[in-house]
Amino acid sequence: MELSFSSKDLEFRDEVRDFLANEYPKHVKEKIENGEPLTREDIVDWHKSLSAKGWMGFNWPVEYGGTGWSPAQIYIFQNELGLAGCPPLIPFGVSMVGPVIYTFGNQEQKDRFLPDILNFDTWWCQGYSEPGSGSDLASLKTKAELINEDGKDYYIINGSKTWTTLAQNADWIFCLVRTDSSGKKQEGISFLLIDMKSPGIEVKPIITIDGDHEVNSVFFTDVKVPAENLIGEEGKGWTYAKFLLAHERFGIAGVGASKRQLERLKEISKDLGDDDLIAKVSQLEIDIMALEFTELRLLSALEGGGNPGAESSILKIKGTEIQQRLTELYVEAAGEFAIPYGGPDGYGSNVKPNGPEYTNDALSKYLNMRKVTIYGGSNEIQKNIISKFVLGV
């Protein structure tokens, strides 16, 4: 057993740090440090800087244009990005639909979609949840009907998706659609790629309690999608969706980003001299340490050729609880300065200099982060998974 990374891994870490010091776009960095919201262009610039370095496919095999990094390297990369306070990577292309395409797609689909994901020339969004299908995702109703027109096959899509993150920015959406409603509900689902410019698609904003426009409703009315956009086999969409979820879970703990937030909070609580807050922050630091080493245990198992399985649901549950706890303590530290809301920088930013700078986005982050225990399979669903697959209940 050994706590430190190998010298090779440490060299790699330094390479990531060099990149973040020199090539992470300065204007994005400044906005993050000031707690200001990012524009679409900012987010694209940030991703393009990774593409230029050849690191966009950080979790992809070399044969599809990825880095081919080891699990330890992927861990270090994500951790360093978090520690440096980088905006979270938009996962829909690189961590979600990308791996589904290179694993289950045909050659034509790989050639067509993968390079744009790696260059961040296509912004993807995810069409999973529906108004009537949240945790019970397999009950989804958005209908895809196969037709033939002038000798070509198309799917005609009718229905709606909801909670679609940043659909207003997206070029393409990957959707779970129902191609068959006769059998078991999981068996009639297919995985379809849809161009957001297709006629019949309407995106309507959903404003969340932080005042932000991050998620949307997406409506499909007789949207015509070429059948060649179907991934794998019709009716196998549920299998691909489950594969995608497993792919998504690693790195979900967000330890690096939480550690950065914690360091700032430690300074703030000490400056305030509030012993009660200091004790709460200390407890949170222990929680983060426990989460970090839980992730490293899973990483070690992976590196040793093992398969971590349902235990990784712990990372989702504790990682998100910690993210929320951090925002709660920032609000506590901000005191009454937490409540001025809706400043000149748009949603949730404080009117400067209304209070200490850490109070600027304390409450908007608190409100925004309520989502993390709900999305990606709610924490209650994660507990069902552990109960069934780990405890065998």
Partner: protein
């Protein structure tokens, strides 16, 4: 970075598991709780024969050079079965101090510890000292002929010990002396703890001490005490992790067999999620355990801080897991004849030992 156990370490765990599974029946254990010693001397002999009592000692002292990782494995497995035998007081606490001291007669004492012939307890606690081990009030006075006066409390396994390692104040210098149980002027009061262990109060009244009984003095003595206690803290924390694992496994088993409303109560989601919470607490504590034991193994500066994080967390988590295990066992959970309540009592004892959760949270923050 590698948090996987070696093949040798996995074998050690299997060996201990095999012993506990076949020889550590809970009802059998109950018989020894009420004997004078409070443990099974035959098992202690077996520990010696298996070489377990030699594990952490250096090879020069006749040991196996095993360290914090192997001891954590041992204690985790012991925790699962609520093992009573006094390994902590003899091998971990007294053993660490003797083995790492410059005491010239240490080899004789270590040999008898390893063979199981004799037992030695560490007497470091005093009244109103609240986990701080400074300002010792037991006074060793004189220059040529030395005399010891004072009281030591909560001496683990004190009633079974043949000798005591006693921390004393000698002209404001922390000193450790070795005293035999039948020394003139030493009177011993024995007590039971909530978790069926044995502890003693030692009263020293003009006890004569010879220079050759001095094990360590000054900085050496303070460092030895600090490190022995850190080691002990790691071990009871590992034990708590083992206890937690048993608690959630036993609770899952119980709720699957207990039927109410015409079905196993494990069908109820409210109970499922509670059991998942127990599992998560255990896993997170295990992660902190891994961090601590490797920090100690690598002798990193962060080892005291890691152990404080671990001890603080197992104090909280242990009680939570223990209380939930009792709750989910219903009335059976509060029955003395079931093992589950004994785990809760062990969690409470572990939390209070070597500094409770609150103490270690503060220590963590201040370091």
């Amino acid at each position: 970075m590698n948090l996987n156990f070696s093949d040798e370490q996995n074998l050690l765990r299997e060996q201990i598991q095999k012993f506990c599974n076949s020889d550590y029946d809970f009802y059998d254990r109950e018989n020894f709780i009420n004997t004078e010693s409070g443990f099974d001397p035959e098992k202690w002999k077996l520990f010696a024969e298996q070489g377990w009592l030699a594990m952490p000692f250096s090879s020069e002292s006749g040991g196996f050079d095993f360290g914090p990782i192997e001891l954590s494995i041992l204690f985790e497995e012991f925790g699962k079965f609520l093992v009573l035998e006094p390994y902590l007081s003899n091998v971990v606490l007294s053993g660490y101090i003797l083995d790492n001291s410059s005491f010239d007669k240490k080899n004789d004492f270590i040999a008898k510890l390893i063979s199981g012939e004799e037992q030695i307890s560490l007497a470091y606690m005093e009244q109103n000292r609240n986990y701080e081990f400074k300002d010792i009030t037991c006074l060793l006075e004189g220059t040529d002929s030395l005399t010891l006066n004072g009281t030591k409390n909560l001496v683990l396994n004190g009633s079974n010990a043949d000798h005591y390692l006693v921390t004393v104040n000698h002209n404001d210098v922390t000193t450790i002396v070795l005293v035999s149980k039948d020394t003139d002027g030493l009177s011993i009061n024995n007590f039971k703890t909530v978790d069926d262990r044995r502890i003693s109060q030692l009263n020293f009244e003009n006890v004569g001490i010879n220079a050759d009984q001095i094990v360590a003095t000054g900085d050496e003595a303070e460092q030895l005490i600090k490190d022995a206690i850190n080691y002990g803290t790691l071990c009871v924390s590992a034990e708590a992790v083992g206890c937690m694992e048993s608690c959630y496994l036993k609770t899952v088993e119980y709720t699957k067999s207990r039927e109410q409303f015409g079905q196993p109560i494990s069908n109820f989601q409210v109970l499922q999620h509670k059991m998942v919470d127990m599992f998560i607490e255990a896993e997170l504590c295990k992660s902190l355990l891994y961090k601590s034991m490797i920090d100690m193994h690598e002798n990193n500066d962060s080892k005291y801080r890691s152990v404080s994080a671990l001890k603080s967390q197992v104090g909280l988590s242990g009680k939570k897991v223990g209380e939930d295990a009792v709750q989910l066992h219903g009335g059976m959970g509060v029955s003395e004849e079931m093992s589950i309540g004994h785990y809760l009592k062990r969690f409470i004892a572990i939390d209070s030992q070597f500094g409770n959760s609150h103490f270690h949270l503060k220590k963590f923050n201040n370091s």
